[in-house]
């Protein structure tokens, strides 16, 4: 076993780091304050090939692997999770289309998604339905050669931007959830005002109203009635994204704490000299490293997940990773806020922003308790 990256993986990490430092860091507070991501950020992310890192060149992707994806997201998450959602949001749909789409669907959607020219939305949540797919109320009725979709979807990311939507609805043929894939902003598609979230600002979250949305019969993703399987096999990839950003944020909190501790003078010397503070920093560093290697391993697993069984195994390990990384990242950031004292509570300090983003990360792509159920149930069989 060798803990060593390829030169290509190192260079992809460096590209992401340079991009994040040059283009995102200078505006990270602006993105947060105005809850707005400048259009040039998704465009440049696309041009640098960061939007389609682990996807094949034949579909317009960059042709790298999931270890590179984790390394890149860690760097971007170090500064702005909102900006990174350009990548992570698309990645969910790209994976689903890659695994379950027809050749026509792949050709139609993947190149523009992989190159960041369009933003996709992947949504199953409804006002009364969280992680329980069996509670879906959104309906799809077959009418001749068209499906007619009705219902409300909640917390749909990037629903305002042009691009495809993968939406889950119970169809009237099988009586089970089916995934549908179609262009947003079609007749019958409307969205709410964006939710005003605590963190992940710059990535807009909406309710989506589908009222007699008519889409061609062939716009089903995968098989009719097999939506649950698509969600189950794809969701693991989404948790890799959320956890990678959480890792970057924790690393950022550690770096900011070390910097602050060296500058902040109390009782005539920098607080970095105090053993209690060094002890706290040591705990933080150990937690960051634990998260890091759990995630790099998960990236390796994702790169090699070829069969349905592999992907189910990946989903379990993704749940385990998210269950550990997102709260651990929040722990590290809470320590960072403690080190910063009252300054850590103030806007304009990175750790304040990280804290709010870290709270979001524990919730999205499945709350912690659900992750624990997934992991626990897989352990007892």
């Amino acid at each position: 076993m060798e803990f060593k990256f390829t030169k290509e993986q190192e260079l992809i990490q460096k590209t992401a780091r340079e991009f994040a430092q040059k283009r995102i860091e200078p505006i990270m507070f602006q993105i947060d304050e105005h809850n707005e991501l400048p259009d040039y950020i998704p465009k440049e992310i696309g041009e640098l090939g960061l939007a389609g890192i682990p996807h094949p060149e034949e579909y317009g992707g960059s042709g790298a692997d999931y270890v590179s994806y984790v390394l890149a997201l860690e760097q971007i998450g170090r500064y702005s999770s909102g900006a990174a959602t350009t990548i992570t949001g698309n990645n969910l749909s790209i994976n689903a289309i890659k695994m379950f789409g027809t050749e026509e669907q792949k050709a139609n959607w993947l190149p523009e998604l992989c190159q960041g020219k369009k933003c996709s939305t992947f949504v199953f949540t409804e006002p009364a339905t969280g992680s329980d797919m069996k509670m879906l109320t959104c309906k799809a009725k077959l009418d001749g050669d068209e499906w007619v979709l009705n219902g409300t979807k909640r917390f749909a990311t990037n629903a305002e931007r042009p691009g495809p939507m993968t939406v889950f609805a119970v169809d009237d043929q099988s009586g089970y959830p089916t995934a549908f894939l179609f262009e947003k902003h079609c007749p019958g598609y409307t969205i709410s005002e964006p939710w005003d979230k605590i963190g992940y600002r710059g990535a807009h979250t909406y309710d989506v109203y589908l009222k007699d949305v008519r889409i061609p019969k062939e716009d089903v993703l995968g098989e009719i009635g097999k939506g649950f399987m698509i969600l189950q096999q794809n969701i693991g990839f989404g948790k890799i994204s959320i956890s990678s950003l959480a890792l970057g944020r924790a690393q950022g909190a550690l770096e900011e704490s070390i910097k602050y501790a060296k500058e902040r003078v109390q009782k005539g010397r920098p607080i970095a000299k105090f053993p209690t503070l060094q002890s706290r920093l040591a705990d933080m560093a150990a937690k960051v490293e634990a998260c890091r290697w759990l995630l790099y391993r998960l990236g390796y697993m994702a790169s090699n997940a070829k069969t349905n069984e592999d992907r189910i195994q990946l989903a379990q390990q993704s749940a385990l990773t998210k269950m550990f990384v997102t709260p651990t990242s929040l722990d590290v950031i809470r320590d960072a806020v403690q080190i910063h004292g009252s300054y850590g509570l103030m806007k304009g300090y990175q750790v304040e922003l990280f804290y709010r983003d870290a709270v979001v990360a524990e919730i999205i792509e499945g709350v912690l308790d659900v992750q624990k159920i997934l992991v626990g149930s897989s352990l007892v069989g």
């Binding site: 290509e8 590209t15 040059k22 640098l48 790298a64 890149a72």
Partner: protein, 259 residues
């Protein structure tokens, strides 16, 4: 137009830490990269090719890690690489580097322009360009902050201490660029992955016909330490107005303001 960009493999200086007790740099596990100003030289070459057509060959000499390190230059847009690899080149001084690079360029044969950074990121001696010009008997333009090509002639703006000088010279020539000439591009992921598939020629010292006498080190490095940063630790304890005036006077007497 055939452009050769000479680059040096160096430690990633951003990641080097200093041992506080001895002021020595800690070099263990520091990744290797291409020097910052060398990237500006390569970037300028790629931009000229994008405007005028042709190819950029990235040339470098170093230890065997160079085969991996050079992928960064290929990802930035170089069309091919010619490398001289030998363990003795790991810490080669400027005179040796100039001989090896000049002989490599001779081996390549046809070229119009050789681009280098003004100095390497580690030693910054700034000697390799002038020495190569002497060996190859080529005109040298240094301290270049902007560059234009018109047919077989180049026009360069040189940034000197108290003036800008505009010079013209016929190609082939050697140009040493300053960091402000451009902002080196961030390589795209797709280019990074293609870098390993671009043509790469690896040569030995024998193949470029370097005489062992030319490899003799003439400079001995006695020490390599971080500069001492002794703080004066002056504290102004008077009321704010007096303290501000005292601070101003102290800074002025040290020559930091009011010069």
């Amino acid at each position: 137009m055939n452009i050769i960009a000479c680059v040096k493999q160096v430690f990633d200086l951003q990641q080097v830490r200093i041992k506080k007790e001895t002021r020595e740099p800690i070099m263990e596990n520091i990744p290797l990269t291409i020097g910052d100003i060398d990237k500006n030289a390569l970037e300028e070459g790629v931009r000229l090719i994008e405007q005028h057509g042709g190819k950029v060959t990235v040339v470098s000499a170093g230890s065997e890690d160079l085969e991996e390190t050079i992928k960064e230059g290929l990802a930035m847009g170089a069309d091919e690489a010619v490398l001289v690899i030998d363990s003795s080149l790991d810490s080669a001084e400027s005179a040796v580097s100039a001989v090896v690079l000049a002989k490599t360029v001779k081996k390549i044969g046809e070229f119009d322009l050789i681009l280098l950074g003004e100095g390497s990121s580690d030693n910054y001696s700034g000697q390799v360009g002038p020495r190569m010009a002497e060996i190859l008997d080529l005109p040298l333009v240094s301290f270049v902050k902007s560059l234009k090509v018109d047919g077989h002639r180049i026009q360069a703006v040189r940034s000197l201490d108290d003036c800008m000088e505009v010079v013209e010279v016929d190609m082939p020539a050697i140009v040493m660029v300053m960091s402000e000439i451009n902002e080196a591009r961030i390589p795209a992921v797709t280019q990074i992955l293609k870098a390993g598939r671009k043509p790469k020629q690896v040569l030995s010292l024998d193949e470029i016909e370097v005489d062992p006498a030319e490899m003799e080190t003439k400079v001995e490095t006695l020490s390599n330490l971080a500069p001492e940063q002794d703080r004066k630790q002056v504290i102004f304890k008077e009321d704010a107005d007096t303290a501000a005036a005292d601070l101003f006077n102290a800074l002025q007497s040290e020559g930091f303001i009011g010069r």
